[in-house]
Symmetry: C2
Subunit: 289 residues, 2 copies
């Protein structure tokens, strides 16, 4: 199983959400959870650079200038590549954190999925290798692929005004996709304590265990006791989407065993790049009610 620290530390390039008190000053002082997130979780040190986003959707190039036991100071320089927009920028982060475990499709389709999942505001994208993933022969090096995905993520965050710093994980084998979402949830909430979570296995073949509809599963999950209170933490919803050809029977059995809930989308057979966007959109629209 993947250790949490691997997933968390892969997020070095993600956009850091600047505190609401930040108003374009040339330096930012972080305390508490924000400081702890950069120092203890991401393990960043003095001199490290990261990209930040302010409450208005502005993008900033940040450098850590000093770290003490109580505070952390960042220098902030406005990123001029950030696009001006007249559209209504999102005013808050989405209510649910969406994590997309996407089995690698053929060719460059993953690029499209990375862009669109980021636009929609996925908290994390985890590329997954499974039995039916087609190896392209001339396999692209993992580092080159990550760099390209991260560039696409940065561009999509800027264009979409997303307040979610979409994290990219290294590619996992399907056997290493964690089923223990409860523990995992903490990795994706800044500073974060564990949030209630659910993992959905999207599979368009009939399984022995009855597959519920997306609405049915989410309605049950979101109407549970823990969400009654105002201060309840944002739920984490993980989606596992197959490659062309779907999952093998063995993979389905393994994912159900590890806690994923089987879901059958009440629609036609979708190409895998449509399926990812469809599922993210449907989950978000239902969770944001």
């Amino acid at each position: 199983m993947l250790k949490p620290s691997t997933l968390e530390r892969s997020c070095l390039l993600r956009l850091f959400l600047l505190p609401a008190t930040f108003n374009g000053e040339s330096s930012v002082v972080l305390t508490g959870r924000d400081r702890s997130y950069l120092v203890d979780v991401l393990r960043l040190r003095e001199g490290a650079s990261l990209t930040g986003r302010d409450k208005n959707g502005g993008v900033w190039n940040l450098t850590i200038t000093s770290i003490t036991k109580k505070i952390l100071i960042l220098s902030a320089v406005k990123d001029n590549y950030a696009r001006e927009t007249t559209d209504a920028l999102p005013e808050s982060r989405p209510r649910a954190s969406l994590v997309l475990y996407q089995c690698l499709p053929k060719g460059r389709k993953m690029d499209e999925i990375v862009k669109r999942a980021t636009e929609i505001g996925a908290a994390a994208i985890v590329p997954v290798r499974s039995h039916n993933c087609v190896a392209t022969g001339a396999e692209e090096r993992e580092e080159a692929k990550s760099a390209r995905y991260n560039a696409l993520i940065k561009e999509a965050v800027q264009q979409s005004g997303s307040l979610v710093p979409t994290a990219l994980s290294p590619t996992l084998d399907v056997r290493d996709v964690p089923g223990d979402f409860e523990l995992r949830a903490a990795s994706f909430s800044q500073g974060g304590s564990a949030a209630p979570s659910i993992g959905l296995l999207l599979h368009q073949c009939r399984l022995e265990e009855r597959q519920k509809s997306l609405f049915e599963v989410l309605d049950e999950f979101l109407s549970s006791e823990v969400f009654r209170e105002e201060s309840s933490p944002a739920p984490l919803i993980a989606l596992l989407v197959g490659p062309e050809g779907g999952f093998t029977d063995g993979e389905c059995a393994m994912m159900l065993e590890s806690g994923f809930k089987p879901v059958l989308l009440k629609t036609n057979i979708l190409r895998c790049e449509t399926a990812a966007v469809y599922a993210l959109a449907a989950v978000q629209a239902i969770a944001e009610r």
Copy 2:
């Protein structure tokens, strides 16, 4: 305003849903509404060719061999390009008929939208020209464009196993987009009596009239009196999606005047090709509960 017959007759190339009693015979006899649909609505005559889909998702090349006052006879030849699939084919048409009014985006993005909307099972796709649509200079001829869209639709229907014969309308000016959905609904239900309908204007800028969330608007619409009965007709949900740059204030005012309900998606700023898929997916997932 566009006359119904123009919209209806543009659907000549759409896939005709064969009766449930068809079991691969070399000829099919149609009576009642099915006959009337081809003869009176589509105005097809002896010798006309159309493409059909059987209840198992098989695709058939059909030719009208004779028409009388009571019956119509089709010859049926299996289309061998139909892809075999092990995925679970949809067992029924989706509960809601989705009509996508899509303002033309730049370049070939419309191709992607046509493919994905068909996969998801849109009943009709209507390309729309609005103020912010960018003319590409070397304007493609309408016929060439329609032919390409129809080829993409046919391919997507086959790949997705869709039971919905997605219709393509000629390009409309935004001023000609009909607001009287109640009347319009009949055009998209085979044989069809009018179904309850709603038009949604997707606009990511704030409007004077408060924009509700997609869930809020659909929940209100779908829980109305008319859907209480088992035999209630499938609702028609029309979505109007803007081009890059969105709608002008004047266009918004006009569409609201003609009966569209303003909707703000609770998500980030989406590129228009993502917006169409997002909206269709979210609407379908909510309507199919």
